[in-house]
Symmetry: C2
Subunit: 211 residues, 2 copies
DNA sequence: ACTTTATTGTGAAATATTGCACATGTATAA
DNA sequence: TTATACATGTGCAATATTTCACAATAAAGT
């Protein structure tokens, strides 16, 4: 274990990435993996993998490798994804519905416990996962009742800030924002933006640099 | 302009991010912006903004700031988003539909020109944006006919690799993958993965570190 | 027991990125 | 015209991240 050093953000990002191949391997009945092999699967440098993992305490075995079970357990503990997180979502157009149905969320412990929309035609509708769409003014009472911890925003850009403010007002400290606007937030709260256009821009850039 | 130095990846990422507030400002009738103000809007360091932009050639004006129009033009030129890119999408469940309808893609020059699915019930259906869903075996001929440049994968994990191989076989050099598997690719091709679970993991980590 | 082979953990070097600080240039106003 | 305020561009120092390289350790073979 590397002394009480701060774990680099880049490490956190990669480690979350290691999780998936590890889970696949477990399913295939593999119990031990070397940094070389994991690195190859994730297209990173083997020393990087070892250093990343060593932040969590050296539980690899020299000459042998890492016990995959332990590794998953430790990574989840660090990422705080060793427990359930309750999500509320606002905006139930295609993107919202897609996220609600996203199997990986559930598998990883992210559970939607409430869904909100402002469209009167949608309010009251029953969703496949068993929730009923609520009006957005219910965000505060329901968020508090249900103990929602993360708010997911897939509304139109026009509504995104309003909804965000409601989430914050309800005491929610983290928002995952899919709407293409910059959300203003209190200092104590976190916003993580997902913007596919930016992702495509990066891809287009890399593509245009290719021979 | 900083000499023929390589532009850092981190810069590319940020610069794609600067684009949106800049476009908003133009709409509001603002024509000039300082690095300080842009930095504040994007929550980065002002010197960082200046350095990022200086890679593209110093076209700010000392004592004044940057001309927003020029800035947008130059950024788009660098990112190669100053032109249209043709996209094909495979997998038309909610996520696929959400992406097809995503207004920002269109605005930024990313146009879907074909849609594929393997579900017989879906094939032949007409989509709101005017495309008809094609069977995935049509990927190769249609991709070549239509000149698709980027393949978007929103299929189930089981089909993702097959579809990817079809895209590669059709000569497509870049894939945006929303499916939670690692896509094997030829060396000449690019894959950009989008994984919401990883994004949530990062958010959960940051949340758990808060006081 | 000893040798060989495999693989981790990590200090230290190499590289990359960020931010400071200030010289340099522009505009405005008196 | 001169002073003042403002804002860029960038060398350089400070940080951060990545990679190398090797000692340490474990298992397997002889």
């Amino acid at each position: 274990m590397i002394k009480d050093q701060k774990i680099p953000d880049a490490t956190i990002e990669r480690v979350a990435l290691y999780l998936r191949p590890l889970e696949d391997l477990i399913k295939l009945g593999v119990h031990v993996i070397s940094s070389d092999r994991l690195a190859e699967m994730c297209k990173v440098n083997p020393a990087q993998v070892r250093k990343d993992l060593s932040y969590f305490g050296g539980f690899g075995v020299r000459g042998v490798g890492y016990n995959i079970h332990d590794l998953i357990f430790e990574i989840k503990k660090i990422l705080a994804s060793d427990r359930e997180w309750k999500l509320g979502i606002a905006g139930l157009d295609d993107m919202g519905m897609a996220l609600l149905q996203h199997k990986n969320f559930f598998k990883r412990g992210y559970k939607f416990v409430a869904a909100f929309d402002s469209d009167p035609k949608k309010i009251g509708q029953r969703l496949p996962i068993g929730l009923t769409i609520q009006p957005i003014r219910k965000i505060k009472p329901m968020a508090q009742d249900l103990g929602i911890e993360i708010g997911v925003i897939t509304t139109s850009p026009l509504q995104a800030q309003v909804v965000a403010d409601m989430f914050f007002d309800a005491g929610i400290k983290a928002i995952l924002n899919f709407s293409p606007i910059h959300i203003r937030r209190p200092d104590c709260c976190l916003v993580q933006n997902v913007d596919f256009s930016v992702t495509l821009d990066q891809l287009a850039y890399r593509l245009s640099k290719e021979v």
